[in-house]
Every structure is written in C-alpha cells, then in structure tokens.
Symmetry: C2
Subunit: 373 residues, 2 copies
C-alpha cells in the first residue's frame, strides 16, 4: 500500500469515507488541517463533545494495509454495526481520520493531531514541503483537494469527549505471547542522542594498541555497554546509525565515528537514568584503550512518556474480558508514536493493540488476521 | 610532498638522481620497470652482485618528505661520503630507486620490487592504469619519460648481493621509547578479513530485546572481542571499515552490517590463532542477544610474515652499537609493507628504522629530525 498523505489516492479514499459516513447519517466536519470528523448524533441530542474512534488513512511509501487504516475501518465498522442494529448511544460518537500521521510526504509525523493538540504551530504544518517537490506544501495540497476546512484545528474548534484508537502493535509481543489484544497503558518516553567519538587516524600495522586513539573500538564498546545498561533497567537502548565520516580503509584506524542512541521506557525517570549511566560508562570507555578518545553528544529528541486515561483503559479491559476472555489479552506499552499520544493531552484517551504477523509494519508484508480485527 | 610515480615531477627527480650518481662515478642501469640501479665499482673489479641501499622516490598524493625518499637520499649520502673520503669497497655497492612503491597513481603497492622478485607478473604491472585516466598506463608513462629500460626486471636481470633500506618507522614506538634507531627483524604477517552480519530490521520502540536480531550490536561486540583476543596474543587486530548498507535510521535496528578485520603479528602462527579465536568468539556472540544473528566472512588478503636475514640484521646492530650506542636502539618489526620484503625473497636483506614525529606518515606533517637521519 502506498497512499501518501494528500495525494490523489488519499483524496480518493477521503471522498469514499465521506460517502460512507454520510450513508450512515453522520455529519462530516473538516478542520483547517483536513482532519475529518464524522459525527453520529446521540439520543439525548446533547451538545457534549463526541466520543471519537479513529486513526489515519495515510501510509508510508512502501507501507502496509493495516497501520492506521485498521483504526479508521474499525471505527466505521462500529458505526455501521450500530446502524444495522438500530443502536443509538446517549451522547454523540464518531470517527476521526487524522491528516499526515506518517509524515512520509510532508516530514512531520503525528502532524495534524499535533496541531489539534497545540504542540505544532499550524503555520509550520501548513508550510511543510513535499519531500520531492518544494513548490508543493501541505496547505497547497489541502486546497487542491478541497480539504482545507473552516473549523479551527484545536480542542476548541472540534472538542473530543474521548479518543480511542485501534492499531496494530507494530511489534512482536502479542504474537509471541499468544495474545489477541493489548490494553495500551501509554506511550514510552524516549530520547534520541547522537554521539561523536574523536580519535586519530593511524596505520593498523605500525601503531601499537598503546599508542592508538581508536574511535570505532570505543564506539563499539559504548554500544555494547548501552545495551547492558538498558537491560538492567528493563528499558530499551538501540543504535540504528553508525557512520565513519573520514576515508576509512582496512588498514587505517578511523579518526572519527558518529552513532545514534535511542533510549526508551514507560517511565521518564528510567530513560533519564539509562542516559546518565550510559554517559558515565562512555566516559570510562573513552579512557580504556591506548591513549584514549574524546566524545561529545547532542540530544536530538526528548519525548516524554504518556500515560493514557485510567477510565478509558478500564473500559478497554472490561470489553477485552468479554470479547476475548482472561489470559487472551495483556497490558502493553506503545513503543511507537500515535495520534492518541496527542489527543491524550486534551481528552481521556487510550489505544487497543491487535497482533501483527512477526511484528512487521511499514512494509508490504504487514498483516493482521481477520479474527484479530 | 606530492610526487606520484612517473609524473613529470617524478621524471624530474629521476634525472636529478641520474646526474648525481654519475658525478660520483657510478654507472646507471634501468630495468624494464624503470627501477634505477646506480653501481659503484669495487676495488676487486669482481662480477659479484652489488650490495644495494635503496628505497623509493615516489610519494602519496598528500605525502611527506621522508617516506622512501630518506632511504634513497641516505644511500646517495653514503656514496658521496665514500667518494669524498676516497674510500672504496672491495666489491660493488650501489643505490636503488624502486618504481611505484606507493601504488598511489598505479594501484599496486611495492609494485616494481614485486616484479623484480617474481611475485607480480610484469604484464600486469605494465598494464596498471592511472587511477584518474584509464588511457594512461604505467608502461606508457615509462616510455614517455624514457625509463622503460632493456634490463629484465628480475634477480637474473639485475642481481643484488644484499639489500639495505633505511626508512622512517611510520609508527610511534621509537619516539615513545626514546630510541633513535630500530633494527628491523622482519615484516609482520597479516590477514584482512571482511565480515557481514545478518539480522532483521526492526522498530527500536516496539521490538523488545528478546525479539531482536541486531547485527550492529553483534558487530560491536565482535570488534571489542577481537581487540581482547589480539591483546592476549600480543598481536594486532583492527577494524577500519564498518558499513550499514540498508537505510539506517535512529529508530530502526539495521538488517545488515559489514566490517573489516586486520590481524597482524610477526609469527604467522599467531595470526592464524587470533583468527581462529575470533571466529569462535564471533560465533558465540552471534547467539548471545535476542533471536541471534548470522554472519559470514571472506579472506581478502593473506600475507605471510617475513624474517629478514640474520647476517644483515647483525651488521645493522653492530653499526648501531657504534653509532648511537647501547640502549639507544632496539629490535623492531615492520608493520607496513616495504620493497625490502620483496628483495628478501632473493637476497640477504634488512631495514633500518629511524623515528618519525608522532609516528605520522603519508601526511604533509611527516617529519624526521636531521640528527635521526
């Protein structure tokens, strides 16, 4: 599946969704970021904010058919099932399709729920450029497709009473533990750091270990150490990028190495503790071999942990108990970012995770079994 | 200093050398690889092969003024000093300038001593292309400058009775131990291996350690382990190149990592033992974390250790004792390749190392103090 946000393909599915919700008697509201809110009136005809179910319909360039999409389809299925059974809630319920969750075309992930939550200025979001064509902005594409709505993109413009998001886990935990449902407790806090280790290039044949300042040896030990430290805390620490910017060769010790460190845990305090211990350990490692190396670091991202609403979590747990039964569901934490992380700043929110095969997502092989929907 | 082999600058210094040795009464002989042999007749007018002193006058593109050059200049200075003092040896002595030692322009290092020694076929050496212009070959440049001689490039074409090469150490050992001379025992054996570690890309936030196959974590531990193993053997093991070919990102565990391993020791048996222990250790590391990784490897270079001639070494040691005195010189091993490694296959050979500042070579900052020449 390739449905980059606000492309013709995205506009097409938006129009389809528009039709579907109207067939069910919903009203459709579009805000200034193109977020789509379908509202099913409740019996009490109250002006209370609607309880929303939703996610996003955009994908990565080589994405799957479930990430985001399943959450919107599940919401639509709930509305259809209510309609088919003549069931009407007391208060308004509805569906949301959040614009540009992936950030794959306009590079800002969880973009329009972020604007709604007040963490991303709307001008900044509007001015995001297509990564392949700087003349095209998110706003110009909203206008082109007729999805630049009048409603302010904010909790005042379109308030929500609560927000529930069903999503594939994007990890292997449910599959490996044989559970069919995860009751999501919140989102991990994470910090992304970049380290640069400075040494001195030297001939591998003529330079004894005692005379070396080998940044790759030091970086290797740092990566291994960060893994040990994270394990001790039940946290995650991962290095995805390692670069040797100088002209490296088999018989030359590098002069400089850069690597990233991604530290995660449900508790911010643990993230901070892992970072602190890593910095202490790295300082020791820097002195260990030969004439030692130096290093510096930057913090590129600092995202606080989010705890979802207890009442919402309890509601999911009660439903899970009825639907799949005890032992078939488990508490789980979201490792990835989701629109619900943004909504939870302004309304009671939580998520429901369903298993995906091998934990694979952002890939055409992404798969969720029908019985797990 | 930038004097790439067989450029106009190299031709110019060759003509200068030609003049200088002829002024001293030497005869100049040029072989089919442009190797220059200056021969000073001995008193006995014997037809025995000459005892040679030599090195190379070519440099790296951003090289220094001592690597190679000092060995040719020292030989010239010996011949001048003999002349000035009316000293004549019993047998012939002389100077050699070996063509294309650096392999920087025509990519084959120790090229023409290699042809002389029979380890590089002359056609292969002749056909080497200029790295910037495939229309220019080593042979076409020999012809252009008039240095394609008639003498076969071989021990039969121009036999040598012995070969002595004075060279900067290209390492920090002499400087750090305060010695002014190194009596070179031979050249290290070395093996160059390339390892590829295979894992599976995974989201750093949603994939628990237990579910990962992280090739970068494994490679980091392998690099640290190879260092430990080499230390235990008094050998060297170095990783200069590490590459992550997939699209790495901060929040994605890589799927594949490639790194090099350069193992060195004066004894081939130790090189082999270090390799064996590394392979065993790497196999254990591959199983240690999460779901494990797999790896394969290739051997790119296998260069056996060379031991220089005992009589030549003794001659250098005796001279060192007289010249700088006990405690001021030391036995040392060559970590880099040199023309003498080739000559030692066919005639008694050794080298003399002199200190270079900070162990730096192949760099404009390369420096050897006049008192150390």
């Amino acid at each position: 599946m390739a449905r980059l946000t606000l492309t013709d393909a995205d506009a097409s599915v938006r129009r389809w969704l528009d039709d579907e919700v109207k067939k069910l008697g919903c009203t459709l509201h579009v805000d200034q970021m193109g977020n789509m809110f379908a509202r099913q009136k409740g019996r009490l005809n109250s002006s209370a904010p609607m309880v929303a179910m939703g996610s996003h319909l955009d994908t990565q360039p080589r994405g799957g058919r479930y990430d985001g999409i399943l959450g919107v389809m599940a919401a639509l299925e709930v509305l259809r099932t209510m309609k088919e059974n003549g069931y009407q809630t007391n208060y308004d319920v509805g569906l949301v399709n959040w614009t540009n969750e992936e950030g794959a075309r306009f590079p800002k992930s969880m973009c329009s729920s972020g604007v709604w939550a007040g963490v991303i200025p709307i001008e900044q979001a509007w001015n995001l450029q297509d990564i392949h064509d700087p003349n095209v902005t998110l706003r110009s594409e909203l206008e082109r497709h007729g999805y630049l709505g009048d409603i302010p993109c904010s909790p005042e413009g379109f308030p929500l009473g609560a927000h529930f998001e069903l999503h594939i886990e994007q990890g292997p935990i449910l599959v490996e533990t044989g559970r069919s449902l995860g009751v999501v407790q919140g989102g991990q806090g994470y910090r992304w750091l970049t380290f640069t280790v400075y040494g001195r290039d030297a001939h591998t044949g003529t330079t004894p270990f005692s005379a070396r300042q080998d940044p790759l040896l030091a970086a290797s030990k740092m990566i291994a150490s960060s893994n040990e430290i994270a394990k001790q805390h039940g946290a995650l620490a991962s290095t995805g990028v390692l670069k040797i910017p100088s002209n490296a060769s088999t018989n030359t010790v590098a002069s400089q190495v850069t690597f990233t460190l991604d530290i995660r845990h449900l508790e911010d305090e643990v993230v901070h503790a892992v970072q602190k211990e890593c910095l202490e350990s790295f300082a020791n490692i820097a002195k260990q071999d030969g004439k030692g190396v130096s290093f510096d670091w930057t913090m590129d991202t600092d995202s606080a942990a989010v705890k979802f609403n207890k009442d919402c979590i309890d509601a999911v747990r009660t439903a899970a108990d009825e639907l799949v039964g005890a032992g078939q569901y488990m508490d789980i934490t979201s490792g990835a970012g989701h629109d619900t992380v943004n909504t939870s700043r302004h309304c009671p929110s939580t998520m429901i995770f369903v298993p995906c095969r091998d934990g694979v997502s952002h890939h055409p092989e992404e798969y969720c079994r029908p019985e797990d929907w």
